[in-house]
Symmetry: C2
């Protein structure tokens, strides 16, 4: 059903129908009602091609995400965003990615300022530097620029859409798998590995979820927990890590609430005679982790589809700006359990090709 046909049905001209559709006013109440009724009755859907052709709009979306070197976690969301751009550029979605150093607040501020100056039509933001990210969202709100958050959320930020994971639940899941692997007894070591001093909410929530599961399990009596922090910046971190892996020589499992578990795996590998039986559970399918999962040193990895997160973030703007559809304000991606046996179908190069 076209505007022309509707016009004929209503005995008015194209222009009038158009005014009604777009609520541009300057239509008498009577004709407005008549036309509206017909539009509703025939369930008029504008022809997306014709509209796209005449509007010929393009939308500049800027993504502000952490920089990375190949194989690091943040490569994956970036990859997803880029893949989405490839699919959506033909609909007028243009993308620019700005990278900031997640260990440097000034770097974030600099890029955030640059972003604001570019006056984009939409922003994808990874708020890993919480406080500064929140400031940026305020500015964006004031400037009326819609933004989507990926990875972690800023509650009450009025984001167009949040796309991420439930980190608490991710920790619970890790604990469940751990208990299942270690037959629910022994000492479990939680090791946090970071290269900065920033507070990382995601890691914290994963640890809380992990403990929550253990504390509420039937077999808590048979389990001990130890916690350690390793700073990759410190001179003797390797020593510290080795020490943290098996402090009292009775460790049965290690949980690392981040993608950094490959450091632990490497450590275990070179001490396989004393620590070869320790079960390892970590997060994220980065190349280094996958390597040790294949070797059987890491037992489980938990994934949260970071490529999808990126893809969906850009797609949220396509839906919002191009299709003018409502987009869900929150999207929690599934927590995937990855083992040697199902790795191959997750590690696929086009996980987001849907």
């Amino acid at each position: 059903m076209t505007i022309k046909e509707i016009a004929k049905l209503a005995n008015v001209s194209l222009g009038t129908v158009d005014r009604v559709i777009h609520k541009r006013g300057k239509v008498s109440k009577k004709t407005e009602e008549k036309v509206s009724a017909i539009i509703k009755k025939v369930n008029y859907q504008p022809n997306i091609y014709a509209r796209g052709l005449v509007l010929n709009k393009s939308y500049d979306i800027i993504a502000l995400v952490p920089s990375f070197v190949e194989g690091e976690y943040w490569e994956m969301p970036s990859k997803g965003i880029k893949m989405a751009e490839k699919n959506l550029s033909k609909f007028g979605i243009k993308l620019e990615i700005l990278y900031f150093d997640q260990n440097s607040v000034p770097s974030f501020i600099e890029k955030a300022d640059e972003l604001i100056k570019l006056k984009p039509d939409g922003v994808i933001l990874a708020p890993v530097i919480n406080f500064e990210a929140a400031k940026l969202t305020k500015k964006l709100e004031k400037a009326n620029i819609p933004f989507s958050l990926i990875d972690s959320n800023i509650p009450n930020s009025n984001a167009l859409s949040f796309i991420g994971q439930d980190a608490f639940q991710s920790g619970k899941l890790a604990a469940k798998l751990m208990c299942s692997e270690i037959k629910a007894q022994g000492t479990i070591s939680i090791i946090t590995i970071k290269n900065n001093e920033n507070h990382n909410k995601t890691l914290q929530q994963r640890i809380e979820g992990f403990k929550d599961y253990i504390y509420n399990s039937d077999f808590i009596a048979d389990i001990s927990l130890t916690e350690n922090n390793i700073h990759l910046g410190s001179a003797n971190w390797e020593e510290c890590l080795t020490q943290a892996c098996n402090p009292d020589n009775d460790t049965v499992g290690i949980f690392v609430p981040s993608s950094m578990i490959h450091y632990v795996a490497k450590c275990i590998e070179s001490n396989v005679d004393t620590m070869g039986n320790i079960k390892l559970i970590g997060n994220d399918l980065i190349a280094n982790n996958v390597k040790y999962l294949k070797k059987g040193i890491i037992n489980y990895l938990i994934g949260q589809r970071p490529e999808n997160q990126g893809y969906l973030a850009l797609e949220s703007f396509y839906k919002h700006l191009v299709l003018e559809k409502q987009v869900p304000s929150e999207k929690y991606l599934p927590l995937d359990i990855i083992t040697q046996e199902n790795l191959m179908y997750y590690n696929d190069d086009d996980v987001v090709s849907m």
Copy 2:
């Protein structure tokens, strides 16, 4: 860059450029080369809106899939196909679903004939009735109608695209989880539950994968396997099922290579005092299975994203017919491990809303 601009650059008219682009011939070699060179140099990308507008084509896709009652497995692929239609109808993809009774060959033949008569522009086929499905693909090939297969494959069928699972690997994964749960010793019962006598390749492959894992594991010495077939059509199937669950009173785990595990779960539930410790692993997130997973009677379910399979199948035609892009000839979806702890994010109503 538009055709007009290219025409200007090449000092020819729009028509000539168009002829070169679409290889319609009737262009002198010299101009053809000149125009081609420019097209390549400027990386001309046709405006999808203008093209869509003028072509104003619509494509009738017919899906031929098993009928279902609410809550059965085949509801999920259908749901995915329909969701894809909702998103893609605006691009001219029209869908009709024909349902056949998977327990009745004549029903399939009837619907297949109907399908052929409708002369669709594309077909989505679930080849659960193997032999007849293969016949249909031959007819479609002869009629030059592209088709995509979902759920299971027909090798060498020249399908546009196969979208499904690796059933063998799914079985291996189930075995791995089972061994992990039962501490790798005891008697494991494989129970096949069907309501027909048809050969089901998928079930067979899952069982083979399951056994393959067990046979090649280090602890095979500590494991016994029993196999049972239950026919839901038979008068005393409930009795048979109870018997199959724990024949020698030493069963520690039950594997059901299909979505039918809820029958086993129900049986276990009503014999919880004698069989409450048996670990259950099955397939597919249908409502009945989810219920028992939540209750903790089923320990793991393995999912293969049936909604996605449906979605991707219809999308493959959008990509092929509308965007004229190459589509991957095979797509194996990940084998998801579902437990109580990550169920909520898989059981989401819009898993395919990407």
